[in-house]
């Protein structure tokens, strides 16, 4: 049955289950690239949001330049053996599977020697270590992988075509971030939208013309992005495609940094303080740091601008000295 599911079908079921961004990334990826066996086994649970997942893309040496990953996958009895180090992995402790990008051909150019794997996380050879972020949270992890086994039918897509799988998965991730994912310290009340006006009012700053100016602009940025996303949905309904979702993550970055700036302006000296006894200050300070999750994570603003300029506007690609070199000769390997 599962092989009959189109992306639209997947989308519909995810919508019906109010799936979170992570589940969407995985469900779409498995539906599009999983083997029949994996789809049969996992897709129903996946669509219902029942499988904890994590993303194993980034490495210390492969951030913006994801195609330079050096984690290796080698054929072994029963499948593939994986060895390498990943970073920025959220949910690695609880994940049942990781969507992992590894190099399978070191003689091919960097983009052409990668494969994607659905890696079982609960095995020896997978060591998860929490990474403390600037917010003080430990949302992300480093994952050290030493000879972990991936069954042969857990390959996603074709061997050496992992870049395509990654691009598809990243697309879903970025759209999720553009719509405005979690902005607030976990456990805080209220929805994800800051009520800036209420904060200014509560702090007696709502009559200050400079505050009013910043408030209006910050709220405008958010509403403009929402209007763009409304148009995106209408365009997709009408014609099946829209370039607008690609703008969302970049726009959201400005929105989140902007919100933090306005909140800080409203608070003034009170933003010097922190901690649960100063919830407004803690919120503003947290947001000022957490906004980098969107402006750096999932592809920096700079990478996003490249993507928009190249894919939507058709401007020439960035010159990449090692794009066509065999990977083992690239600076990612030889330094």
């Amino acid at each position: 049955m599962s092989d009959d599911l189109s992306p639209t079908d997947v989308q519909a079921q995810l919508d019906a289950n109010a799936a979170d961004t992570m589940t969407r990334i995985f469900a779409h990826t498995v539906a599009a690239f999983g083997t029949e066996a994996v789809k049969q086994a996992l897709l129903p649970r996946l669509l219902a949001g029942g499988i904890p997942f994590c993303l194993l893309y980034s490495e210390p040496g492969a951030g913006s330049d994801l195609a330079s990953v050096r984690t290796r996958a080698e054929r072994a009895e029963g499948g593939w053996r994986i060895t390498g180090q990943k970073v920025w992995t959220s949910g690695a402790q609880t994940a049942e599977f990781g969507l992992l990008l590894a190099r399978t051909d070191w003689d091919a150019p960097k983009h052409k020697g990668l494969s994607a794997f659905l890696t079982p996380m609960r095995q020896a050879g997978v060591d998860v270590r929490p990474l403390c972020q600037i917010t003080g949270e430990r949302h992300f992890n480093e994952v050290f992988i030493d000879g972990a086994l991936v069954p042969a039918d857990h390959l996603l897509g074709q061997v050496n075509e992992g870049w395509k799988v990654l691009q598809s998965a990243l697309g879903y991730e970025r759209v999720g971030m553009g719509a405005g994912a979690s902005e607030r310290r976990p456990g805080s009340v209220g929805d994800n939208r800051v009520d800036l006006i209420a904060l200014a009012h509560g702090r007696g700053r709502l009559a200050d013309p400079l505050i009013r100016h910043q408030l209006a602009q910050a709220i405008a940025w958010r509403q403009l992005n929402a209007l763009n996303m409304d148009r995106a949905r209408a365009e997709i309904t009408a014609s099946g495609a829209s370039s607008l979702p690609s703008l969302g993550k970049l726009a959201m970055s400005r929105i989140l940094h902007g919100d933090a700036r306005v909140m800080t302006a409203i608070l003034g000296a009170a933003s010097l303080l922190d901690g649960p006894e100063q919830p407004d200050a803690e919120d503003a300070n947290y947001r000022a740091l957490h906004a980098y999750m969107t402006s750096i994570g999932g592809g920096t603003d700079q990478i996003q601008r490249n993507i928009i300029a190249e894919r939507i506007l058709g401007l020439p690609r960035e010159h990449e000295a090692d794009r066509e070199l065999p990977f083992r000769e690239s600076r990612a390997v030889i330094g």
Partner: protein, 377 residues
């Protein structure tokens, strides 16, 4: 409430056909050469193109079909103004077609509509609205013309400034304070006691006048007070936002084309990351402006509770976007755009002018926040 005083809405296919005809007309007759010629002409606008627009039935854009108008609601008006902005239309579509026709349509004066709208629609008479005073705020507070009644007759005193196509208009609708309230008066082009002074404008595609009234005879348009005026201004705000969104997109597209063809350092300059990143940021502005203008038009057409906030949002977001994109366009082109013969400065001039017309961005940001506060309580 609905802001559409023109009767039954035009169906989608007819709207699409109208948009297509208008775009073709501008493509055929609204070239940059035509814009430059018209802006340097005595009339200050393209009279030939205006005749063609009238022939297309679009001169009285915001007026009901029964009086010869186009019967266009906010959504259609916004989309046509996007095309007008893209082409730097040099014609009184906003002055006569939206402001004057809209104010009449929003009035309660059926006789005035029947008498005045058909010649506006045919292009026979160019009309405009004289509203703001010397401060140029386009707010009720800034109306400085006073109307005094003697018997059935009215006379006007005071000054209206920044009147678009004010020197060219055959018919002036003058907003004045009459016995404490705002009212609208019809003043003939040849009225005694009226002096029209053509102003030199920075954007040569939008002629303006300062008009002094000294006991000028005027006729009251019934039921065209503060409420009708505000409805008409909302329509004009959406129209202007559309013009800005359209202008921003066109000057952006022109710039992107240049980035792809201009070779420096052995490659198209659009391959340089500095310009690529500027372009990506500008695309966010261009698309946001389109979304804002269209969103405001839809809300106004639907009479949505969000309309007030969205119209004010569009007013400053589209003004800022057009200004930013037009300014960046000159920079991204480099030297070639510093020449008079290159179109970039025409967009820059229009963007600067549009950003002040009907009130500046700071004014609308404040109105937007006030609307949000009101919705909040």
């Amino acid at each position: 409430m609905t802001a559409n005083p023109v009767g039954a809405p035009i169906d989608h296919e007819d709207q699409a056909a109208i948009r297509e005809s208008f775009r073709r007309l501008l493509a055929d007759h609204g070239s940059e050469v035509a814009v430059r010629r018209a802006s340097e002409s005595d009339t200050g606008y393209d009279t030939g193109l205006w005749r063609r627009i009238s022939a297309l039935g679009l001169a009285a854009l915001a007026a009901p079909v029964e009086h010869g108008g186009a019967g266009a609601g906010p959504v259609l008006i916004e989309s046509l103004m996007e095309a007008a902005g893209a082409a730097l239309l040099c014609a009184p579509l906003l002055s006569s077609g939206v402001l004057a026709a809209g104010l009449l349509a929003n009035s309660a004066d059926e006789a005035a509509k029947a008498r005045l709208l058909p010649p506006i629609a045919s292009g026979e008479r160019l009309a405009t609205v004289a509203l703001t005073g010397e401060r140029g705020l386009w707010t009720p507070d800034d109306v400085t013309v006073v109307a005094v009644r003697s018997g059935d007759a009215w006379r006007l005193d005071g000054v209206a400034a920044f009147v678009t196509h004010g020197a060219q208009a055959d018919l002036l609708l003058v907003v004045a304070r009459a016995e404490g309230d705002l009212q609208t008066f019809e003043v003939a082009a040849d009225a005694a006691g009226m002096r029209r002074e053509s102003l030199k404008t920075f954007d040569r595609t939008q002629p303006m006048a300062r008009i002094t009234f000294e006991g000028a005879p005027a006729s009251l348009i019934a039921g065209a007070g503060a409420h009708a005026l505000e409805r008409t201004l909302d329509l004009a705000r959406v129209a202007l936002a559309g013009e800005q969104a359209g202008g921003a997109r066109r000057v952006f597209d022109v710039t992107i084309d240049y980035l792809k063809t201009r070779i420096q350092f052995g490659r198209p300059i659009g391959g340089f990351q500095a310009l690529k990143h500027m372009a990506a940021d500008l695309l966010v502005e261009v698309e946001s402006a389109a979304s804002a203008a269209r969103g405001a038009a839809e809300a106004l057409e639907d009479g949505s509770a969000e309309a007030e906030a969205l119209v004010n949002l569009a007013a400053f977001a589209c003004a800022d976007a057009f200004s930013q994109v037009a300014a960046a366009s000159v920079q991204m082109h480099g030297g070639i755009a510093f020449t008079w013969d290159h179109p970039a400065h025409l967009y820059l001039r229009r963007a600067r002018a549009d950003a002040e017309l009907l009130g500046g961005s700071d004014h609308y940001r404040e109105r937007y926040l006030s609307a949000l506060e009101a919705a909040h309580v």
